[in-house]
Structure formats: structure tokens, C-alpha cells
Symmetry: C2
Subunit: 278 residues, 2 copies
């Protein structure tokens, strides 16, 4: 793996480039982005130079798609010519639709979906950092385990480990089921809470807002532009997660009526603490 092309040099793409450098990657890194972004990325030391997607298709050993999901879906059909022995991967936060599109269009190069569970509130290459993936889950989503055994997939996974991430292989559908519950459901819950309080209390809420409400309303500040793609490509699983959650909430409601909330509190506390175990 000598030449890496990163399409979308924002927070994730820029951080991946910086992390590769820090981990000792000695090849070239190209940025496929707008001229302004490429300039910022070069200044930041993330990429060596800009390139077009066509140049990446011809010359890169690894094409790393770090755009929003809808842009990844637009890019995939243009990667049909990526050469045999090259690897195409992505960092989109839903995987079913992307992996299906890749199977249809990318036949010469290998495609291996990915999803780093990393991020922060600030966006753009200015916010990129080499340590962004350290200690975080990095899902890779082969359709069959054998896809992880090709030389180029092994090399890519080895680099993901070197940048400090915990590589977790999972099938695309299982990935979307899991993150619908651990990531997309919390977002919907927070948004619904903010809407409910906005409508029922409005500005009066502020006097009663303690640290708990601050935690629970933080996700509600997320940008719709990012979530539009996620909702569009994972609505079935998100719907299932919401149905499941509404049942749990109804049980809490019922137990409030019967004065029997100790069990959910104790089960919930054990689970929440287990998420924090090292």
C-alpha cells in the first residue's frame, strides 16, 4: 500500500490521514476534495497533494471514502475502474446500502466497508487529529469473513490497528441493526425530548434544566444534514429500535402506576455501568 487517496478530507478523512502518518505510513496521501479543503489539508499536513477521483481510480492502492453517506453512494459507481489489487473502503455510518452499491459497481478492486465509531462536535480538517480513532471501535463489514483474508484487506486492517482502533468485523446488516440501537435510537430519543419540552414548556424549561437534561439534550443539537442520510439509509432498523424502546417506556409507565420501578432502575444501572467497564 503505497498510495492512499482520501475522498472527503474532513474530520474523519483528515484524521485518518494524520493517524496513518503518525503510525509510520511512508507512502503518498492524496486528498480528493474541493480546492479549498485540499489546501487546508495540505497546510494541516494531512495530505501531500490534491487529486481527482479519476486519478485516485487509476493510481491509488487504497481509496478511502470519508464523505457523507449520500456522497459515498454517488462516488461508488465511478469506482468501477479501480484496479485489481486495490482496496476501496468507506467510513459511512450505515453500511447496508453502501455495501450493496459497492457490490454492484466495484468488481475489479476489492470493497470492504468500514465505520469508525469516532467523532467530535467540531467538523472539518481543521479539527482533525491523529488520535481520533485511538481506543474506539472501528467496524469493518465484510459480507463473508474470507474478504478479510486478502493481502490488501489484511494490510488495511493492520493499519487500522496501528492507528489505535479496535477492529470489530461485523456483517453490514448486523452493523445497521446494532447502530440503529446504540447510536440512531439515542439520537431520536434526544430529539423527541427536546421537541416535547419545547412544545410543553418553551423558555420556562431553562430554570429547571440541570446537568441531567443537559446530557439528555446534547444529541438534539446534531445537524440534520448529517442525520438525513442516516435516516434515509437505515429507516427500517431505526423504526424497529423505536418500537422496541417505546415498549420499554410503556413498561416504565406501567411500573410507575404500580409503584414498582426498582427493577428497571437496577437493571438499567448495571447495564449503563457495564458500558463504561474497561
Amino acid at each position: 500500500m503505497r498510495t492512499v487517496a482520501i475522498a472527503g478530507v474532513g474530520l474523519i478523512g483528515g484524521s485518518f490521514a494524520l493517524a496513518l502518518r503518525e503510525a509510520g505510513f511512508a507512502g503518498e496521501i492524496w486528498g480528493v476534495s474541493s480546492p479549498r479543503t485540499v489546501e487546508a489539508a495540505v497546510r494541516r499536513g494531512a495530505v501531500d497533494r490534491g487529486a481527482t477521483l479519476e486519478e485516485a481510480v487509476e493510481g491509488a492502492d487504497l481509496i478511502y471514502l470519508a464523505q457523507p453517506i449520500s456522497k459515498i453512494l454517488e462516488a461508488i459507481p465511478k469506482l468501477a475502474g479501480a484496479r485489481e489489487g486495490a482496496l476501496v473502503t468507506d467510513a459511512g455510518s450505515t453500511k447496508g446500502r453502501i455495501c450493496r452499491a459497492a457490490r454492484e459497481h466495484i468488481r475489479r478492486a476489492q470493497f470492504l466497508g468500514g465505520h469508525p465509531m469516532a467523532g467530535k462536535e467540531a467538523r472539518g480538517v481543521e479539527a482533525a487529529e491523529a488520535g481520533l480513532f485511538r481506543g474506539r471501535t472501528y467496524f469493518v463489514t465484510p459480507r463473508e469473513v474470507s474478504e478479510l483474508e486478502t493481502p490488501v484487506a489484511r494490510e488495511f486492517v493492520e493499519w487500522v490497528r496501528k492507528i489505535g482502533a479496535n477492529v470489530v468485523p461485523i456483517a453490514p446488516g448486523a452493523h445497521d441493526h446494532l447502530v440503529a440501537r446504540t447510536s440512531h435510537l439515542p439520537q431520536m430519543i434526544s430529539t423527541a425530548l427536546a421537541v416535547a419540552l419545547s412544545e410543553s414548556l418553551g423558555g420556562a424549561a431553562k430554570a429547571g434544566a440541570g446537568p441531567g437534561l443537559m446530557d439528555m439534550s446534547r444529541l438534539a443539537m446534531s445537524a440534520w444534514e448529517i442525520w438525513a442520510d442516516i435516516v434515509e439509509t437505515n429507516s427500517g432498523e431505526i423504526g424497529g429500535a423505536l418500537d422496541m424502546y417505546m415498549k420499554a417506556l410503556e413498561e416504565v409507565r406501567e411500573r410507575l402506576r404500580t409503584g414498582n420501578l426498582r427493577d428497571p432502575f437496577e437493571i438499567g444501572a448495571i447495564f449503563a455501568k457495564s458500558l463504561r467497564d474497561k
Copy 2:
């Protein structure tokens, strides 16, 4: 106000004592707690000495009840003898039941309910700090506004301002309605999320747990012992808040089906940001 008796010298009671001292209170502060707690509170510089509740009834100008709600409800009938011109207040996080009990039992001294929206994860006088109330809402809950105009109430409110809190007067019932939505509802939502994920994913959730789920599951770690009293004394309002929230969640569910989630995301973001405005 020369002598203050604090019943329950834990995080809140201890912090109130330290804050009074820092704000220049020059009188005596007594701690009404177990001998072990009083010893720790004296060592911490929060109180001058221990006292019994009977001594407080006889000698204190301000009796500050900072125990759990159920203990406050047990203490109130013992305060019937508190003298005219003295003030009894409390820091319980629900107010209706406590204010009703106080009206029944405390007739010579004045009772003025209170609820500082302050706290942190650590508990006990060891965690107490003078700055705990700074910048936080401190509800005071008179039944009628005129209760704030007695000399002793004015003096108490002045001290609460001096320790840096934002004094917000609100009727007891309105308080319980408000915090059911801004505090108790977020707790129920977080607990229900933790229970739902515990049951549906168990240990598999951890790989998919990003910062969002960490925010949304933090409250689920709360101790049931604290919440038992809150639920017991505010179940009607909490039930109403849950019903309202479930409607908002159903609307999110429906809009997911029809591909129309932009509005709730944008309204939710505006509201969540408004909670953070200075």
C-alpha cells in the same frame, strides 16, 4: 439570623454551610446528623458542632432540612415547636408533599420550601464545596408571594443570592410539574433506554457505544434509593410527563415512516441550544 441548624450534612447540606461561611455568615452553624457525619463535617469546616433536632427547634433561627425527601417528611412533624420568627426550609427535590406536610405541622415558625438545582455524582460532606450553588437555579416555593416578604424570608433569600444561586420563586405544584419534565422525565428516558438495550443487545451493545450513548445512559446509573422518594412523591406529574413524551416519540416514529423528520430535528436543535444560552 445568628444560628443555622442543618439537618443532613451531606453534599447539599455541607455545601450550603460552606457557602454561607464563604459568603460571610458569622453566626453558628450546627449539624444535625449522625455522630460520624457531624465529625466529618466539623473536620471539613462546614459546621461548628453537632446538635439534636430538639436543640435546633429551640435555638436555631434557620432550620435547613437537607435530608432525603422521606427523612424530611419524618422531620417536619417534630418541628411544630420551632419558634416564631424562625424559618424552616428544605432542599428536597419535590415540593408538593413536603409543603403540605409543613403547612399542617409548622405553625409558629415560617416554612419556605426550597430546591437547589445543584449536585454532582459524588455524595457526602467530603464532596461538599462552597461553589456548588453558583450560577444554579435555586427554587423557593411559597404558596403565596407574600411569604417572601417576611423579614426572615427576605434574609434567607438574600443569603441564597450571596452564595451565587439564581433564586426562582415558584408555587409548589408548578415546581413539581416543571421538574417532572426537566429532571424526572430525562431520568425515566435514560433508564428505559438502558433497560431496552440490556434486554435486546446485552454485552453486544458495547462495541456500538459511542459518545452519544454515553451521554444518554449516564442518568441510568443514578441510585434507586434517591429516586424512590422522588417517584413516590411526584408520580402523578411524572406520569403526565411520560405520556406527553410518548406522544412526541410516536410523532417521531410516524415521521420516520413518512420521511419527514427535518422539522423535529430543527425544532429540537433550537430548543437544546436555547438551554445553553447564557
